[in-house]
């Protein structure tokens, strides 16, 4: 009886070890994708944005600033993505990390930004694990999980492929 107990415990240990190894190494494991933070934000027009309300959409969150040259280069392409995939369930959100907000509204109008922009702060940055350089972009799947993080300029053809793939799937 004692030997049987030891054998069962050994098998149990092996199964647990295998499961742990599988979880760590499986690229499809859902635990690999952190949930995007649920935030209540206010856009430049004063409208309240509940990010949890975007569940079911593919969301691109772009941390940027009006003074940041590479960020400015990205904006027209983000505007184009928003136009192209809005009906399919895509939503871009800009989080602007300005020291001074004076230039932001002019920028918003000049670039004809067609998606909500909110003024960021340290708390929002921390919710995303820290924003230690601009631009920084996150892609969130329909399931509300962060699928990709891009530090620096985005490779737009690759991101568009990723967006299309996420729009096709349930996640």
């Amino acid at each position: 009886m004692k030997k049987l107990g030891i054998a069962i415990a050994a098998v149990g240990l092996l199964v647990a070890l295998w499961a742990g190894f599988y979880r760590r190494n499986s690229p499809r494991a859902t635990t690999a994708y952190a949930a995007a933070p649920a935030l209540t934000l206010v856009d430049l027009g004063g409208a309240k944005i509940e990010t949890a309300g975007f569940q079911g959409k593919v969301v691109l969150i772009n941390f940027w600033a009006a003074w940041c040259t590479p960020c400015a280069e990205e904006i027209p392409r983000l505007v184009a993505l928003q136009d192209k995939y809005r009906a399919a369930g895509f939503q871009a959100i800009g989080i602007s990390m300005e020291d001074k907000e004076s230039a932001l509204r002019d920028f918003y109008r000049q670039y004809k930004m067609n998606y909500p922009v909110v003024i960021g702060n340290q708390k929002i940055a921390q919710e995303f694990g820290g924003i230690l350089g601009l631009p920084t972009t996150f892609l969130v799947g329909r399931d509300g999980r962060i699928r990709a993080k891009y530090s620096g300029l985005v490779d737009f053809p690759a991101v568009e492929q990723e967006i299309m793939a996420l729009l096709r799937t349930g996640s």
């Binding site: 040259t69 960020c71 020291d99 960021g120 530090s151």
Partner: protein, 145 residues
């Protein structure tokens, strides 16, 4: 020597370009050594507040974005009493090196003021990528925005 004397005078074309590999730059690993040495340089942060608040190099003084005239004035004021042979390191890391709007104006201004030993910390992609993720020391500001 961890902190090389800057190529003074602003005559070299690279002095204001701060091209990767130029003598005016200091690499992160060399700055770490310099900060631990007896001849510790004055370390001035010339980038946006949001970045400094989250993480900065221990001992770095916040100046603010040197592209902004208000903070450029602050930079001039901060260094005005320093001897012109002081070792000064400037850093930003807000965005990719070639696009940084702050580091070159700050460097150029100190050259113009006659500082002979100024270096700019080379952060190719950002402070996050080239300093924090490399495991170099950081501290946070106590108060958030």
């Amino acid at each position: 020597m961890a902190v090389a004397a800057g190529q003074s005078g602003g005559k070299s074309p690279s002095a204001t370009e701060l091209s990767p590999g130029s003598a005016e730059l200091i690499q992160p690993e060399d700055l770490v050594k310099a900060l631990g040495s007896a001849k510790r340089p004055t370390l001035l942060y010339v980038g946006p507040r949001f970045l400094y608040s989250q993480a900065h190099i221990p001992g770095a003084e916040f100046i603010g974005s040197a592209a902004d005239t208000e903070f450029m004035d602050k930079l001039r004021q901060r260094v005005s009493t320093l001897p012109r042979n002081s070792m000064i390191v400037l850093y930003c890391g807000c965005c990719p090196w070639e696009h940084c709007p702050n580091i070159r104006p700050a460097y150029k201004e100190l050259q113009k003021m006659g500082f002979k030993s100024v270096n700019a910390l080379y952060l190719a992609a950002s402070f996050g990528t080239n300093w924090v993720e490399k495991g170099y020391p950081v501290e946070k500001e106590n108060s958030g925005r």
